[in-house]
Amino acid sequence: MNAQFKKGVLELCVLAQLDKGDKYGYELTEAISQKMTIATGTLYLILKRLKDEGYFETYLVESQGGPARKYYRISEAGRTHYHELKKEWEQFITTVDELLK
């Protein structure tokens, strides 16, 4: 898979997970890495970039017994971006499906 394509797919997965609800880093990376084999470290690079684009906000929540956890929350702009990407993805797989038939 080419890197650009992979990046787009992972970006979409990250957005989709956060669209379902706020998550902290480990929780989010686990949710994705349970379904696909990836270096979860790359997800933090994606998170950082999407956060700098204004698609996520972060906030801290005290956790029992351990240090506070940084939670990610999707912003309005993030949601719009997610829906745009999702639509592109759906069009893409429809096209590929048609070609495979």
Partner: protein, 359 residues
């Protein structure tokens, strides 16, 4: 690999990146190790699952190179509108600049009978404002739709102004932006006194441009006529299938014009001029050119060159006449000719038309 080892490795890979970015990433990883420990994972297991991120580092290096200030970039990217896109179908669009903020409204010449049938949908995403002018439902006065105007006041110095219409006209005046992209199907496009790059595309609509200073001017029309008057432009590129092209300029670097059946007319100072046409006639009056190249299949070519110390090149026609009216011109083999110091390159080729070259 233990936690510290992994973090050191990442820091080493990111050493060309902005300090703040590196610290953010390392913080995230450190937290991940802690959260992994909470979930009962060893440092080795967490390091292994974080894995090899080297594949991604190259790109990150570009985006987060040293001395970049992510916060400032973030703010301007989110809050500031840099691009404007207007989509409409039958409504005419009028755009002007110089405002302190972007504003718009619908106007109606027919006692506001029609504007209620339209709505403007506004979306902002990634620094781009999109305005869609849509009919609410099928209008009872559908034939009067063309009397509705969408008036847009812009701030100057936007990155991109893009307007798309179907049968509506586009009218842009007195505004500055990096690039204007105007696209009409059957509507006409008129542009006056703007600054920036200008790209226009129409199917049957006419294009009319009057400006003093432009960067790139790229025009494309299927059957509409194109009329351009620009004092200065870096690059002019015009393509038409059957419409006529007429260009007037005081000083332009390079000009490329092509038409299938329309006539082409150029007047002014152009350094590099390239014209091609299938059956249209070509009429050029050019001052101080460095190179003039004209190809037509069957049209006549009339070229006037002023203020040049000499030229050399080729004038070739299949069946027409060639007339070069410069005193002391010498002819060479294979349709070649030269005059004076030979500094300007002139190539004129036509299949069956006549060629006339004079001062």
């Amino acid at each position: 690999m233990k936690k510290q080892e992994y973090l050191n490795h990442v820091r080493e890979m990111l050493k060309e990146c902005d300090e703040e970015f590196v610290n953010d990433i390392l913080c995230d990883f450190e937290e991940h190790f802690e959260q992994g420990a909470d979930a009962g994972k060893t440092e080795e297991e967490v390091a292994e699952s974080l894995g090899d991120i080297s594949e991604w580092i190259e790109e990150m290096k570009k985006e987060y190179a040293k001395k970049q200030l992510p916060e400032i970039v973030e703010e301007t990217e989110i809050n500031e509108i840099r691009k404007v896109l207007v989509k409409a179908d039958s409504v005419d669009i009028e755009v002007s600049g110089g405002s302190d903020e972007i504003s718009w409204n619908l106007m109606d010449n027919w006692a506001k009978m029609n504007i209620h049938n339209y709505q403007v949908i506004e979306t902002v995403s990634r620094g781009r404002l999109m305005l869609e002018v849509l009919p609410k439902e099928k209008s009872h006065f559908g034939i009067m739709a063309s009397h509705v105007h969408f008036v847009l006041n812009l701030v100057d110095e936007l990155e991109e102004v893009r307007i798309e219409t179907g049968s509506g006209d586009i009218d842009v005046e007195d505004v500055e932006a990096e690039v204007f992209k105007l696209h009409a199907r059957s509507g006409d496009v008129t542009v006056e006194d703007i600054e920036g790059d200008l790209w226009i595309k129409t199917q049957s609509g006419d294009i009319d441009v009057k400006c003093s200073e432009l960067g790139q001017l790229i025009l494309n029309s299927t059957s509409g006529d194109i009329d351009v008057s620009v004092d200065e432009a870096e690059e002019i590129n015009i393509k038409s299938t059957s419409g006529e092209i007429e260009v007037e300029t005081e000083e332009s670097e390079s000009m490329t014009l092509s038409s299938t059946s329309g006539d082409i007319e150029v007047e002014g100072e152009v350094k590099h001029l390239k014209v091609s046409s299938s059956s249209g006639d070509v009429e050029i009056s050019c001052t101080n050119p460095e190179a003039v190249m004209i190809h037509t299949a069957s049209g006549d070519v009339e070229v006037k060159i002023k203020g040049c110390r000499g030229m050399q090149g080729i004038t070739e026609t299949g069946s027409g006449d060639v007339d070069i009216d410069f005193e002391g011109v010498s002819y060479h083999s294979g349709s070649g000719f030269s005059w004076g110091d030979g500094s300007t390159q002139v190539v004129i080729k036509t299949g069956s038309g006549d060629i006339s070259l004079s001062e």
